[in-house]
Symmetry: C2
Subunit: 213 residues, 2 copies
Amino acid sequence: MDVYEAIARRRDVRAEFTGEPVADDVLLRMLAAAHRAPSVGLSSPWDFVVVRDPQRLAAMAQHVAEARQRFADSLPADRRETFDPIKIEGICESGTGVVVSYDHSRGGAHVLGRHTIADTGLLSVALAIENLWLAGVAEGVGVGWVSFYDEDFLAGLVGLPDGVRPVAWLCVGPVHHLEETPDLERFGWRGRRPLEQAIHHETWGSVDAVRPR
Amino acid sequence: MDVYEAIARRRDVRAEFTGEPVADDVLLRMLAAAHRAPSVGLSSPWDFVVVRDPQRLAAMAQHVAEARQRFADSLPADRRETFDPIKIEGICESGTGVVVSYDHSRGGAHVLGRHTIADTGLLSVALAIENLWLAGVAEGVGVGWVSFYDEDFLAGLVGLPDGVRPVAWLCVGPVHHLEETPDLERFGWRGRRPLEQAIHHETWGSVDAVRPR
């Protein structure tokens, strides 16, 4: 699949999983794509814990449901009404969770390019996640990033060692289709920002040079 | 270009820029690809400041040279010897810098999915950067992420408002070729971690289920 098409078709999937598990060879291609991502100082600070045990999936789903409730309770009435019908995870339906983690100790004492900005290690992990996500589109496999969890809970659930931080729970599974419009837009939570507002020329606030046509 | 091919061919470019500036329409397609990235709560918390003024590029290059010197001075002798020939930026040669920034206030008071993990906003920006990078491969345009800078300096250089954080300086320009092997590996700084070490099954340390063949 063309890279631009994969970028355009990619969605954050919650409700479109078929219920069939992703095949091992497909998942391996997706993980290999993630592993080819750039990383600060070539540190490759990510790991992938593949979770398929139904009990472990159910435990994560239960934990996420509680975090969802806390978020719902924090919302003003109008936002809560908009939020209520939005599905935020497909942990059990997808059949496979991939916990992506970050190890700050990877790469040794002198990580080239991280001495100025410590977060470049963590950011590298997100680059890997985007590669996996786009590979999934090409494979007919949906990916949904779940962030409604406490890091300590997830670290315990999959036994991350001290110093290794969970960065994402990805629901991964074949999909019968991908929606054209992001769920949060379809459900009226939030619209997408126009591209032209995000592009500036030379300094912030100047939008003259590179204008979408 | 096929998405897997783009992922495989992508390199962090320093020395392969042709010196020709990237065409406006090409850059716009790359920025549009970035803008299609997933983001927590559909917040699209990124902005792109396109820098082409030679004086501003030179000022950034000078600043980065100083940060490089500080890193070199911090290294033990053997690492310093390995580091010395490694080129870490192509700011002036690329002809275009794209400063990618993060606005934590984007998305309002209730960003769906960020109440548990504050860093999901920052991580969203990295997803956009990877989209831009892969689109560049398809366009014959190289991208090099420079992180040897102080955030306050870069924020001042392009006039970021208070609360908007620079996340990356990307050198962007046409390339005559992309190297097959990452620079840090070619120059002996560090090898790539084998994929199989990064994949675990159910819990950390178990590598039985999804094994590269």
